[in-house]
């Protein structure tokens, strides 16, 4: 799962090589210090690599245009989420378990679309959109408190950025990139 998410951040050109480097060194560490230490090293490497890789994606795309594309993607997500909220408030009773579940699914679908849209404008934009979604999700959790179930808000913080990256990846695949 961790490798899959990390792979979404990597550029097509270096993805296989970088993951191969990580695997090769992990096996080296495993043979000298054991599986547990190697797994810990691997997790640390992946987590610490996310920042530089995202920054490189950002620079590669031209930062101002990338930021603009990410905001455009977020704007599209906000409109879709508002529209789905209006629709759901008419069709479903608020507070029921089904309501947040459907809302979560709609939010993720909107975020996939936002990531797709952002990627169609700038290659590195879905990564920026994912970071924006994570930050805004945390701020929303702090601001709204108990207005929505905690599981729902945490799920949004985790799944929102992933959905944005999936949308971006779908667009890349459509263009013949990996």
């Amino acid at each position: 799962m961790m490798t899959w998410i990390f792979g979404l951040l990597l550029p097509k050109r270096d993805k296989e090589m970088l993951l191969g480097d990580l695997l090769e060194e992990r096996l080296l560490i495993e043979s000298s210090t054991g599986r547990r230490e190697a797994a810990r090293w691997y997790r640390r490497q992946v987590l610490r690599s996310c920042g530089p890789v995202m920054w490189a994606n950002f620079r590669r795309g031209g930062w101002l245009k990338t930021l603009g594309a990410a905001f455009a993607g977020y704007f599209a997500v906000a409109i879709l989420v508002m529209a789905s909220d209006v629709l759901m408030s008419r069709l479903l009773a608020a507070g029921r378990v089904l309501y947040p579940l459907v809302s979560l699914a709609a939010g993720c679908a909107a975020m996939v679309f936002g990531g797709y849209l952002a990627a169609s404008m700038r290659r590195g934009a879905p990564a920026v959109l994912a970071v924006m979604a994570a930050i805004l999700g945390v701020l929303s959790l702090a601001a709204t408190g108990d207005q929505a179930p905690v599981w729902y808000q945490i799920a949004l913080i985790v799944m929102g950025p992933v959905a944005a990256m999936v949308g971006g990846r779908m667009r890349s695949r459509g263009r013949g990139e990996t």
Binding site: D14, L18, G20
Partner: protein, 110 residues
């Protein structure tokens, strides 16, 4: 070297690692070389991001090697320092040397 193209500390370290590793410079070997020599824990992502930046400046070139089984069938990308990269590294080192020339500091007390 054009103005504004000065090398950062980590860029210099990566270029020196490429010089040391010669034909065996790829992501993992560069990362290990830096860690073993400097004692710094470096992420593979930082190494790749720096190499990409250096390649964009034509200081470094790269080519893809063969895939191997211990890498899960994945190929290596080998990197090589180019003459522009060597020149930039020399200029950065010269600048440091000029700044330090004649400076009387007892480094052992720091």
């Amino acid at each position: 070297m054009p103005k504004g193209d000065t090398l950062g500390e980590f860029e210099q370290i990566v270029l020196i690692a490429l010089l040391r590793l010669d034909n065996e410079a790829y992501g993992m070997s560069v990362r290990r070389e830096i860690q073993e020599r400097t004692g710094r824990s470096v992420s593979i992502g930082a190494v790749y991001a720096t190499l990409e930046r250096l390649e964009a400046k034509s200081y470094v070139s790269s080519f893809v090697g063969d895939a191997t089984a211990e890498r899960g069938g994945r190929a290596k990308r080998f990197f090589r320092i180019e003459s522009d990269g060597k020149r930039a590294l020399k200029d950065s080192q010269d600048t440091l040397r000029k700044m330090l020339a004649g400076l009387k500091v007892d480094w052992r007390t720091i």
